[in-house]
């Protein structure tokens, strides 16, 4: 299975108690949704594991991994990332997109002036932003509905309604 087929959905951040329970940090919108996926894989060898929700402490979920009964066994899972198959994600509607799908896309405006390549998505509390890289410099651009003009999956391009002068400091 290639890495592009898998999506990171969480990480074991520590152990809990002496009965082999682990603390899980979930990256899903509703943290408990991580247990809805049929197959969950470990980062190191793509091994499928079965996890069960036991409780919640602050922002972390406490869970039990199948066949892990002691704290020493649980320690082996510390800092390991969890992945699910891309096919298991819900199908998107016409005007929706997964952020991950757009990483690496080139960003242009309507005049075909280049803003660079998307390297990450961020939200600092004031709308969705994309971080683009152009000539070893990075910039943040707005990606809200007011600015997003079109996504071309074939050409791997995102067209924004934005003037290139925005990049000038």
């Amino acid at each position: 299975m290639s890495n592009t087929d898998l999506l990171e959905v969480g990480c074991f951040v520590g152990v809990h108690g002496i009965k082999g329970q682990v603390k899980l940090k979930s990256y899903t919108e509703i943290p408990e949704s991580i247990f809805d996926y049929k197959d969950v894989f470990l980062e190191n060898n793509n091994n499928k594991i079965t996890i069960k929700l036991v409780g919640k402490i602050k922002q972390n979920l406490i869970c039990k991994i199948e066949n892990v009964e002691t704290r020493n066994d649980a320690e082996k899972y510390r800092d390991l990332k969890l992945f699910v198959k891309r096919d298991e994600l819900p199908k998107i509607k016409e005007n929706e997109y997964y952020h991950r799908d757009l990483i690496g896309f080139h960003v242009y405006n309507k005049k075909r002036e280049s803003f660079g390549e998307i390297i990450s998505f961020n939200d600092f509390g004031a709308g969705l932003l994309i971080e683009v890289k152009k000539e070893n410099e990075t910039f943040y651009l707005p990606m809200g509905n007011d600015f997003l003009e079109m996504i071309d999956y074939k050409q791997k391009e995102v067209i924004l309604n934005l003037e290139i002068s925005f990049l000038d400091n």
Binding site: F124, A126, L129, D146, F147, F166, N169
Partner: protein, 91 residues
């Protein structure tokens, strides 16, 4: 009446003028500003500001929920790379 209520919200004058021009033009241009101290006013809703964080401009699209906050609150100045303790545990 507390002193801050009595004094009213602070906004840099030039920013208000720029916002008025942008609103009247109807275009969704980004208004670049260094004025992180300015309060978000109700007439800013729908506009997009580029708020400087000391290095670059962070686009901030104003929504109703942001009224009363300062522009600088939405333009982080520091990058979080994780705790040192986390790095140790990965060894």
């Amino acid at each position: 009446m507390s002193r801050s209520i009595w004094k009213g919200p602070f906004v840099d004058g030039y920013l208000l003028k720029k916002a008025d021009v942008a609103r009247e033009s109807g275009r969704n241009d980004v208004i670049k500003t260094w004025s992180r101290r300015s309060t978000v006013m109700p007439q800013f809703v729908g506009l997009t500001f580029g708020v400087h964080n000391g290095k670059k401009f962070i686009p901030v699209t104003i929504s109703e929920a942001m009224v009363g906050h300062k522009l600088g609150e939405f333009s982080p100045t520091r990058t979080f790379y994780g705790h040192t303790a986390d790095k140790k545990s990965k060894r």
